[in-house]
């Protein structure tokens, strides 16, 4: 398998509240798995040979691995903060590289053009300078001091605001976005993208949120976020090359792409190459 280092990672494979004893079949890194629960509702994940795989239930999702992770699944301390509403957004099947899905989530510049009049609008298209670093102490990619005008930053937003963002990549197919909370400007809303790599060119995206929003219904919050991801899907499924290049090749990254560049550098350094293109396009 391309990207052996990625076997030793935790991946989302389902919503904990939706497990059934009958179970369902899926794929992880191209290998068959089955996700079910026992009579007490505890998650069970098995590989194609029926071998039980390690399981963690966290952030409303079931996580498993085909390898032997050296580290526990990352944490999101805000998830335990009183008053937040935890939202299992559902799932979207996307015919793209799992790494492409994460990279798209990290891209700010597409907001006015793909999420027009929601997460961005013309003429507010310029991406202001922000800071990006690979934090060696936690081995994560972080982008901070990101600022962007958004007509409707969240379901709870009343009109346009200059939204502040922080992006975090704690695992090769997961990203956590910390975003200005319209209802409580002193807090961050947390919106995550958990990606299950089915194959190198298909993935199951499991968004999850931890928000301060006392007014919106759960259905409205889910619909808002699903609308955003469906808008992204048509872009993701038409990207060329399908795999994420770890070499600039024919692309011309600009300063606005700093987070993408840091993410790709981090993937390259660790050999997280399942879903990556290793030769110049």
């Amino acid at each position: 398998m391309n990207g052996e280092a990625m076997r030793d990672q935790w991946y989302p494979v389902g919503i904990a509240a939706q497990l059934t004893p009958a179970g369902r079949d899926s794929l992880l890194l191209g290998e068959a798995i089955r996700i079910a629960c026992d009579s007490d509702g505890a998650a069970l994940v098995t590989d194609g040979a029926g071998r039980a795989l390690p399981v963690i239930t966290r952030f409303g999702h079931v996580w498993t691995t085909l390898g032997q992770p050296e580290r526990d699944l990352f944490t999101i301390p805000e998830a335990d903060q009183p008053g937040r509403r935890l939202v299992d957004v559902g799932t979207v099947l996307v015919r793209c590289s799992p790494l492409r899905a994460v990279e798209n989530f990290l891209d700010i510049a597409h907001f006015p053009f793909v999420h027009t009049d929601i997460l961005g609008s013309e003429p507010h298209t310029e991406v202001q300078r922000y800071e990006v670093e690979i934090r060696d102490d936690v081995d994560e990619v972080w982008a901070t001091k990101v600022s962007f005008y958004q007509p409707q930053a969240a379901k709870s937003a009343q009109g346009g605001i200059n939204a502040e963002y922080m992006y975090r990549v704690p695992a090769p197919t997961c990203s956590v976005l910390y975003k200005t909370c319209p209802a409580r400007p002193e807090e961050w809303d947390v919106i995550t993208l958990f990606v299950q790599p089915l194959t190198e060119t298909t993935c199951q995206v499991w968004p999850w949120m931890a928000l301060f929003d006392e007014d919106s219904s759960m259905t409205d919050m889910i619909h808002f976020q699903q609308m955003i991801f469906v808008q992204d899907r048509s872009i993701l499924e038409n990207q060329i090359p399908a795999l994420l290049p770890l070499d600039p090749g024919m692309e011309i990254p600009t300063r606005a792409d700093m987070t993408s560049i840091a993410y790709r550098r981090w993937l390259k350094r660790h050999g997280y190459t399942y879903g990556a293109q290793l030769v110049a396009a």
Binding site: P248, D257, K268
Partner: protein, 77 residues
């Protein structure tokens, strides 16, 4: 137009890195003159619009697949 020196540091011994630098500079329309070039550091003088020098820095940070760029330090030439 600006003129800057890029000190690129990392594991740069792969053959073809200098050719890649010049090819990418040509692709984005800036000039690049390679000075000192070792296995762990390459000094290149680049001339072009500031936004394109930023783009050159971004491309260098990722680099070709067989090279690991640890850092790019920029200074006015």
């Amino acid at each position: 137009m600006s003129s800057e020196r890029f000190l690129i540091e990392g594991e740069l011994s792969a053959p073809g890195f200098q050719r890649w630098l010049q090819g990418h500079a040509r692709r984005i329309g800036i000039s690049a003159q390679i000075g000192r070039a070792d296995a762990d550091a390459v000094l290149v003088t680049v001339d072009g619009p500031p936004a394109l020098l930023d783009a050159m820095e971004m491309a260098c940070l990722l680099g070709p697949i067989d090279v690991w760029v640890e850092s790019v330090t920029r200074e006015a030439a």
